[in-house]
Amino acid sequence: MLSVHQDVLQIIQAKFSSFEIVKSVHLNVSILGEYWSEQHHILAVVAYHSNSALFLFSSKKPKPFHLSDLIIEAVIPIDENFECLSDPIPGEHNYLLFVVRYRKVSFEFRIKIGPESSNFASEIVKSKERFLSEESDKRWLLKYTDLYNSLENTELKSQLDDIPFIRQKMAQNQNSINRDSMLKYQLKLKEPEFTQYQEFTLFIGTWNVNGQLPSISLKPWLSSDDDPPDLYAVGFQEIDLSKEAFLFNDTPREAEWEKMVLDGVHPKAKYRTVALTRLVGIQLIVLINTKHYQYIRNIAVDTVGTGLLGKMGNKGGVAIRLELHNTSLCFVNSHLAAHVEEFERRNQDYKDINARINFRKYPTAIKDHDQVYWLGDLNYRITELTTSQVKTLLIRNEMAALLRADQLNQQKERGNVLLDYNEADITFPPTYKYDLNSDTFDTSEKARPPAWTDRILFRGKGIYQLAYRSHMELRISDHKPVSAIFKSEISVINQAKYRKVHEELLKRMDKLENEFLPQVTVDQTEVKFDLVKFREPQFRDIIIANTGQVPAEFEFIKKLDEQSYCKDWLRITPYCGTVNPGEKCDVRLEVNLESDLTELDDILVLHLNGGKDMFIIVSGKGQKSSFTTSMSALCRAPMPIMNLSEIQWKKIVALEGEVLYSIPRELWLLVDHLYKYGLAVRDLFESNSTQESFVKIRDWLDFGSTEPLPGSVETIAETLLIFLSYTKEPVIPFHLHDVAIAASSNYQSCKNIINQKLPDIHRNVFLYICMFLQELLRHSNENGYDAKTLASLFGEILLRDPIRNSKPQASRENLVSFIIF
């Protein structure tokens, strides 16, 4: 294993159980074929005992940093159905094609050649060997694929047997493109069910016009048959030999020849230009019978120069691709290197054109088309025979001997050019080189031997050639035009059948998609709490069980217009997480009441990522407490508040009735206790009292008791702090908060606020606390408190922020310290 990827290996390992060992990973894998999104992909070999599988991950990043960056795209068991091989990629020496087949499905990955790839490949080979010696057990993969056992529908099952993978993204509805790709893929598999072949007549023609002006009718060439073809592909070479055409690739001849072609096509049908492309003098026009025009799609053209410097356009090829109904067609017109001895150069030109033509949309290359027609002045000559020998053989009509000497036939046979293209038998005389305006072979000094330079070849299924001939009547060039007629099978979609198949597939995909939606159940949708008391937390656990087939990511989500996913008295842990199929997750709901709420109600929305929402009602009753009652109300209570009747309670809360005490009774009880027992206690306010002891004091205050105040002085001191922290209004009421902060640096202003603005009871409490603090400071030798410490301790309690925890703390300290002295 390469150490650089050890980290990634560990991240991927985290996706698996401890018995499932990630043996090897390969980063930066790209997938060939159109229907995969351009994400980063990683392959991993994972072993489970003697079984292994190849996992394909997509990753948000080239190198994943976290488990969540990875999504399992495909799982391919490495068993008897698993095959893999590698192929070189033409023109890419650093990469190779890694092909994996599983039954009818194949994946092609482009991977960089290097230690990583060889390590990975050897791990696959080892896995495969290990499998062969042991027994197959695919059960461990079920949780990643869930295809074999989850679907009862056997028809569906057989469908899915073709596809040993599941895309969770599709299931989770995160990416409609994936669904689209899946649909296209499936449609392709089912194509025979909704297509039928229909024969189309194709006329393919090629003519090197030797730079001559378009001055004669092309009818003898293009309309020599009784019946009109459905499609024309007409190629010219050397339409313009001028320097301007060569340098600027611009010539008026283009339009002139197009017009000649349109004028020359068969009179029994109407045609329209599908595409025209030209490189210097190499021009290709495709015309279609207008009745078929609407069935043509995805037209693209490209040109490749192979002339001077290997790039210029005096030689080269032009190509047009299109789809007619459901069949992709490609037409290539090429003019290859000249001169008898340059056959290798011609081979190379062919290879260059084949490799460099790129239509920039799928399929991009010539070879990817269902049918290819290759025409042009290929310039292959007759070798090893003198001009007179050739002429003699021609007169004797010994074509076989001549064709054996044809370079194209020889080179093709050796596999050097136009491999797997077919050509019909040549029965016409060589098309080059003639004296202009004659049918006489070259009589110049050079007296070149005649040759079949102008050829038409084809490749693909369902192509039947009906004619292959030259047209002697056209004499303006030193070449004769050549034409070929094909009956070609074009796959035509039966719309009604297509719809049926399409809709069935959609239904199946809907079914799959719905089955792979995350599903969970919750053991209770109504959670009731017992009587909830001040600062006495309670919890309930709910169980989220994944009953679906994919991992469920859950999250409690915010309701519209709410700040948080639950009320502030509730805490949910964890509030989000992932539950794997068949597993459960406990979620704790904890209430902690710190206000005077008496009715606790909330509806939680438990959302599954990519799936449904569930509602959980949380309810409970809050018990009143002196800690959350306003001080003004407490001063009106004649007895501990839990002993008040409902009517009395309502009255005091409404601040009706007589004020009985100048400060709340509860506050006095706490402070008085500390006066008596706490002044000299070191670190009085630093207790860590237990919940239980606080609850005892709270109940002692709220219910009253004849017993003495329970708990240590430290606990009581802490309770005092809590009491002052939760009173419904702080000692300095919220509405005076800002004024008080502003005044904090000025003793006199502070004094004014205390004396003139504070409500009576609040002022009483404030002064009472300050007196107590002064008393504490008198004992600072024993208790260890200085003014600053006490000021900061009490400052933020007496002067509470409307929003907790925001802090001009220094100011508060100031305010209080002023008062203390």
Binding site: L32, L189, R297, D370, T525
Partner: protein
């Protein structure tokens, strides 16, 4: 050798647009919202359908002549206590089916309230369909067809009486909605949360259903 990658070529001239819409079902509890969805999506009917506590989610595709419409269906809880959560689901929805029970006048009243709420709070271009469910119980009918039809006409709603039990008009009502929704090509766009991205394309009107391509 052609197509050795095994990838499919696009069948010529058959790929229509694919549109994705968020559709929400609203209505009093026990009027049959979940049953309608179950019938539409899975072709099933359960006599004792559990009460929905939350918002169930399913997807279903329907084919029109030139378009494929994929519905993301949110089937909401009908109980009044969950009423305040409904906006989470109808906000951003392009279509709503408000369901009532033809044997229960109260549910029709509740349906009208839902329609009003949608007209006030939901997207102004939302397509609303009114479904008078439980048509199989027409002998216990408490809401007259004409009454509901008149109300629907006045408010520009699609209207059908449906039966999740017998499947009457179930596909049809979804199909009618699909036809009425404005289409735009979502192939390039994000799918997702039905965020009301739409063109001001004229809708095709609520034609009578029936020319479905199945």
């Amino acid at each position: 050798m052609a197509n050795r990658s095994g990838a499919a070529q696009r069948p010529n001239g058959t790929q229509g647009k694919i549109c994705q819409f968020k559709l929400v079902l609203l209505g009093e509890s026990a009027v049959g919202k979940s049953s309608l969805v179950l019938r539409f999506v899975k072709g099933q009917f359960h006599e004792y359908q559990e009460s929905t506590i939350g918002a169930a989610f399913l997807t279903q595709t329907v084919c029109l002549d030139d378009t494929t419409v994929k519905f993301e269906i949110w089937d909401t809880a009908g109980q009044e206590r969950y009423h305040s959560l409904a906006p989470m689901y109808y906000r951003g929805a392009q279509a709503a089916i408000v369901v009532y029970d033809i044997t229960n006048q109260d549910t029709f009243g509740r349906a009208k309230t839902w329609v009003k709420e949608l007209q006030r709070q939901a997207s102004p271009t939302i397509v609303i369909a009114l479904a008078g469910n439980k048509q199989d119980l027409a002998n216990k009918r408490m809401v007259e067809f004409e009454e509901a039809q008149t109300y629907a006409d006045e408010n520009g709603l699609l209207f059908m009486e449906t039966s999740a039990k017998t499947a009457l008009n179930v596909n049809d009502i979804f199909l009618a909605i699909a036809k009425k929704l404005p289409k735009y090509d979502q192939n390039q766009g994000q799918s997702g949360q039905g965020q009301g991205r739409r063109l001001a394309e004229g809708d095709q009107g609520a034609k009578t259903p029936g020319n479905c391509c199945k």
